[in-house]
């Protein structure tokens, strides 16, 4: 049973993933957060999972009858906040005022 019959409860803002989409996967037997991540793109947007991952953990816990502590958090990888390629390359050049 979904709590999101209209598909208007947004869990991941970056990739517009709804509660319903996640619940459907869990009901289909997929409860590994890494799998849910790859199939729905939760946690893969520009917020890097900051908003959605804790929510998804609680959804899995509720639907799959697990404790939140039993659900491993997905790896945190560099960069821990998005960075422009040009900045990592070194000097952005022309528009640098300093």
């Amino acid at each position: 049973m979904t709590e999101d019959p209209k598909g208007k409860i947004i869990i991941c803002r970056c990739n517009d993933v709804t509660l319903k989409e996640i619940e459907d996967l869990i009901e289909g037997g997929i409860t590994d957060i890494e799998e849910i991540k790859r199939l729905t793109r939760i946690g893969m947007g520009p917020c890097q999972g900051r908003t959605c991952i804790p929510l998804v953990i609680s959804i899995i816990a509720r639907k799959a009858g697990k404790k939140p502590g039993e659900i491993p958090v997905p790896a945190t990888r560099v960069p821990v906040r998005p960075v422009m390629m040009g900045v990592l390359a070194g000097e952005m050049g022309d528009d640098d005022e300093e």
Binding site: E34, L39, M44, Q48, P82, G86, L88
Partner: protein
């Protein structure tokens, strides 16, 4: 749905649920064989879901060109039948000097011989294909519009689904711990969920192949080592911004393209290992940014969202080891893909299924003979990037 239930017995058991194991299970089951895949975590979780998504026929030897030509045919066929995204958006190798051009002319001749329509194009033509390219240093490009890319997640999931429809069993979250061997014959496999009786085992664990070989006490020298390669993905941009896979050996052996979702994905030649460590490094983040912005300067303002690492399971000649290992019946290996496993999988599945069910294949399996290392007959190093 993949299960966590281990069957009591299976004629054929594949260790490793990556794209190789899954497509092989699919092919064997389709031919009516009883087959089980045993995967330590979940389908695709090893190297498959970490790969750079590219599928190309532009190799530098006849065997790989033939195998990849067949593979692309199969990618196309199954993507249409099963409905997963595979797009023939081409591979574009940027060339910066005469020597590179000469090398690629030779490669193109080999490719053309087998009907792969690669051709040399001008920098301006390259820019028409990818308008954001910086071609100021480019002298020519090698272009094959029939190369492509596919989503590792969706394609593997579809192959898995249809493999099960044909009767294959995919067992996840189950780790093979040991072989049950009697008088040189495989009788079964001990796993974290108990023992499965089986006669034929395929080692499809790629980066972990040496560990499985050791478990089976294989003495034949099959040098496959795990090297750490890293990849990057950016924030999504308008689809169609970078259609083909763009390659530049000059700039860091870089490869980059756009995913169906819109992010720029790719990597460079920076390699660490042998190691099982998968922590991304600072050096990679910097190098990939420098080289990518050299190739497409407009990427400078694009945000990197994530980097990650996966394994290239490398052999000394960057060609996989595919075939039967005679010292143990019936033990097969399909591993050591050196970064080409995803793209080769459908053809390798066909080749392996031929070898297992018929003992012979029309595809040039001899090139990947696992005994070549022992005999000191290394192949020419397969063209590799990233």
């Amino acid at each position: 749905m993949p299960t966590r239930e281990l069957p009591e017995k299976s004629e054929i058991t594949i260790i490793g649920g990556g794209i190789i194991g899954v497509t092989l299970a699919h092919e064997l089951a389709k031919r009516g064989e009883e087959v089980t895949v045993i995967e330590k975590r979940f389908i695709g979780s090893g190297s498959t879901f970490r790969c750079g998504t590219g599928i190309r026929q532009q190799f530098n030897d006849e065997a790989n060109v033939q195998v990849m030509k067949r593979s692309v045919e199969l990618w196309k066929k199954y993507s249409e039948e099963y409905g997963f995204p595979f797009s023939q958006t081409g591979y574009l190798f940027l060339l910066y000097d005469d020597e590179e051009v000469e090398t690629f002319k030779r490669n193109i001749a080999i490719q053309n011989k087998f009907g792969v329509p690669t051709r040399l194009i001008t920098p301006e033509e390259a820019k028409e294909i990818v308008p954001l390219l910086d071609i100021s240093e480019v002298v020519a490009a090698s272009w094959n519009p029939t190369d492509g890319k596919a989503s590792p997640f969706h394609s593997t999931a579809k192959f898995a689904l249809h493999a099960e429809e044909f009767g294959a069993r995919l067992v996840e979250y189950t780790e093979v711990k040991d072989f049950v061997i009697e008088n040189g014959e495989i009788k079964g496999l001990k796993t974290s969920r108990g023992t499965i009786k089986t006669g034929i085992v395929v080692n499809a664990t790629n980066a972990w192949a040496k560990l499985v070989n050791a478990m089976a006490v294989i003495r034949t020298k099959i040098p496959i080592e795990p090297y750490k390669h890293q990849a990057v993905i950016t924030q999504p941009i308008k689809n169609g911004s970078v259609k083909p896979m763009v390659i530049s050996f000059r700039y860091g052996h870089a490869y980059l393209t756009q995913t169906a979702h819109g992010g720029i994905i790719g990597g460079v030649g920076y390699e660490l290992g042998p190691t099982y460590d998968l922590n991304p490094t600072y050096e990679f983040m910097r190098e990939v940014s420098y080289y990518f912005t050299k190739i497409i300067p407009a990427l400078r303002e694009l945000l990197i969202l994530r980097t990650w690492a996966g394994h290239y399971a490398k052999t000394p000649d960057s060609n996989p080891a595919i075939g039967k290992i005679e010292e143990l019946s019936d033990y097969y290996i399909a591993a050591g893909f050196s970064g080409h496993g995803f793209m080769m999988a459908p053809a390798v599945a066909e080749m392996m299924a031929d070898l297992i069910t018929k003992g012979r294949t029309d595809l040039p399996a001899w090139w990947y003979d696992p005994y070549r290392f022992e005999r000191g007959e290394l192949r020419g190093v397969a063209l590799q990037m990233g």
